[in-house]
Subunit: 346 residues, 3 copies
Amino acid sequence: MPVLTLADLQAHLGGQIRGEAHVRLTAAASLEQAGPGQLSFLVSARHLDKARASRAGALIVPANLDEALPLPCLAVDNPHAAFARAVALLHPEPVPAPGIHPAAVVDPSARVDATARLGPGVVVGAEAEIGADTLVHPGCVIGPGARIGRHCLLHPRVVVQHGCRVGDRVILHPGCVIGGDGFGLAWEKDDGGHWSKVPQVGRVILEDDVEVGANTTIDRGALDDTVVEQGAKLDNLIQIAHNCRIGRHTAIAACVGIAGSTRIGAWCQIGGAAMIIGHLDICDRVTVSAGTFVAKDIREPGTYTSVQPLMRHEDWLRNAAHLRHLDRLAARVRALEKSSDKDEER
Amino acid sequence: MPVLTLADLQAHLGGQIRGEAHVRLTAAASLEQAGPGQLSFLVSARHLDKARASRAGALIVPANLDEALPLPCLAVDNPHAAFARAVALLHPEPVPAPGIHPAAVVDPSARVDATARLGPGVVVGAEAEIGADTLVHPGCVIGPGARIGRHCLLHPRVVVQHGCRVGDRVILHPGCVIGGDGFGLAWEKDDGGHWSKVPQVGRVILEDDVEVGANTTIDRGALDDTVVEQGAKLDNLIQIAHNCRIGRHTAIAACVGIAGSTRIGAWCQIGGAAMIIGHLDICDRVTVSAGTFVAKDIREPGTYTSVQPLMRHEDWLRNAAHLRHLDRLAARVRALEKSSDKDEER
Amino acid sequence: MPVLTLADLQAHLGGQIRGEAHVRLTAAASLEQAGPGQLSFLVSARHLDKARASRAGALIVPANLDEALPLPCLAVDNPHAAFARAVALLHPEPVPAPGIHPAAVVDPSARVDATARLGPGVVVGAEAEIGADTLVHPGCVIGPGARIGRHCLLHPRVVVQHGCRVGDRVILHPGCVIGGDGFGLAWEKDDGGHWSKVPQVGRVILEDDVEVGANTTIDRGALDDTVVEQGAKLDNLIQIAHNCRIGRHTAIAACVGIAGSTRIGAWCQIGGAAMIIGHLDICDRVTVSAGTFVAKDIREPGTYTSVQPLMRHEDWLRNAAHLRHLDRLAARVRALEKSSDKDEER
């Protein structure tokens, strides 16, 4: 466990120290849980009460906070981002031993950089490449011809299928599958009909700084590639179908499904469990609310929603029945309006 | 395959035997499929017809069943629970060979109890602990410093990330990921904006008797812990985000997503594919219907729902158009009411 | 990379060549991306403009296309299916070395056909069987007594649990779990109540020509079996609960959940993220739209839907409020109708 003073943090993060610069910090914690020797943070004046009551050793606070606090502070422009970097300094992740573990299986034609670390049970296929300082945890399978960049972090049991491309500083969480086959089927009419498989020969391209959550699946393209652009962040249990393109710096929360050939712009935010059908275009800077179903293009930035409000079950039963007859209800209102107009005329 | 008589089962389960106590049983089966030598069960008088027609060797029935049945019965207070225990006795799961398989990789600093069983390809990190009688199937990865309790069952390819805590008698199904990073991002404004990662340094705590389904993901806390309390049962493909707390004896069906920092009470039932947004409080003994979207706190026990009823597509097309104009429709009704009131006044 | 002429393709696919039969082809590509030496295809006259502009080396086109195109064509009855076969010929998937990799762990009592190929890290349990020409990629775990047929393709990190049956020509994508426990719980009333596990002793049966997507989970039956019938195709991140039966040639898109004991007929199409509750019967040739929630039996072929239309968030806020009061709105319309009828009578 590293020990850092507030002055050490300032050297890394910038900002201005208010109070004792040499307080020693060994961990990061929430405002409520932090104790002596622990660093916490305040994003805005909104949680000032909690900050005053905090037993933390020191706080990162917004530069524009006027209030004096009874504990040492580092005042910075973006406290959330600065705290994120402080946490990384205080809590370095455990790293496996350097080199290739004897229980890894690396094809002789693969090119693994001498600074990469491969855990036990890792399998690297023919002609695959793994870049400098990349860490591949136990049980990952890197297919033939796949290329993983530099400074990547592959958590346990990640699969990168043959021929896929992973940029630099990419983080892949446990169980995610990069480059599984897209769901390509051709209908054959004989014997009542059946599906035949359309081979999927495109790749997945993950650009630099992409993060992919646990058990998320990103399918390879049918013919062209599926692309996740630079800096896009994907949470857990997401499905990205073949030939999608996810724009740079777009963040997608857990349980989202995006069907084939849909393009999502840059700087979008897709809420959890949103579902987006195929062959759509969604422009830059769109927010899709959690649980929302998107079935048409979105051409204007903004926030879009399509969820049902929660009700007590008995209220729902009463209300939901009318959803089946809204058209009839609207027609009845129209009829009343006509008859009312007639009354007016009389 | 064990052979048990009805009297043997009575010794384990209690209850009263009606009819032949020495009938030999080798398997459990449904009422429709059971044949001679097979045990089935009846939860209530509702399926009495099927029970009369059953070819089963014996039945577990409710103690309050008056009806005499033409086959040997064990009458108990809770037939479903008793049958569950009988099935476990008749169908013991296959267990791997005792000890640590030579193709497992265990860090020398890990503490694995002598009675634990580790399959081939299991990887156990530095300082990790695995308790007595725990079974770890092939391909599991236990991270550095993680602790697994006693009598646990880890199915193939489970990941428990560094530092997480798993209680006693916990069952983890294939492919589940305990302690992947939460989706913590800080927004940085330069160059149109991008996300930087907030390191996730909390843990996941799974208390005793928890069960987690296949490919379910439970994220580690950002700073504090994500907790699943004693006896909670989670089905497959569920996402539990960072800092959630799931109450004891709560059951969550498949495909549910729960966003960050939400607390769910004890004895709740969350239906399949329900989606619950972050930072909510749901009290004890709440039932959320399948497919329901929860976007606000629930403070009263009861059943809550928010789904659309199914329609033929052509009916849906007609009705759904009005959902976009409900506000206008309500305004039109209000206008009609006003004009009708005026008519009354006249 | 194989090199094939259009005449070679005709020998495999039938159809009639229009233009140069000896053009050499080394890859398949989309109409937009294809260059010299690459094969593309046209499903109907609709994309004729793109076909005319294409730089492809040759095209597969519909037999009933009258139009002459300026590049060599193979005219066939079903261009999509023919192209699928051509892609497979031009892009053979990389295959692991023949035989059992020394880093695979096969129980001595297992029967692995001499022509099967098992990658490193594969674990095969006692009494399991693997058929001729079947390919098992790295990290797969085949449980005790499981049987895998001939010509199957198991991608990396697939789990087939004990006793399950997989037919011939089945494709299992990375991370899918066949035969995890169903979510079977019995309620015990003591101490406020808790769940006890109901052991799941049925199997999963995947019939011939089934395909299962990445990280999809199919649970074993509680007592009887869970069955996916011949030729059914399942995409990624799908949950099939215990005791379901999925009919032959039914296609299920990603993120679908199907709860326990539901039966889906043959030749159905289930759209992405559809959710189907338990104990339902859905007849043959039903299409369920993406995002749809199915809570009752479907007895007539056709298309069924239950989604909310997308709105700008501010419109949604205005409209959604009325969903809670639809019953009241309908009552108000009824009251207006009555008072209007009275007016008429006057």
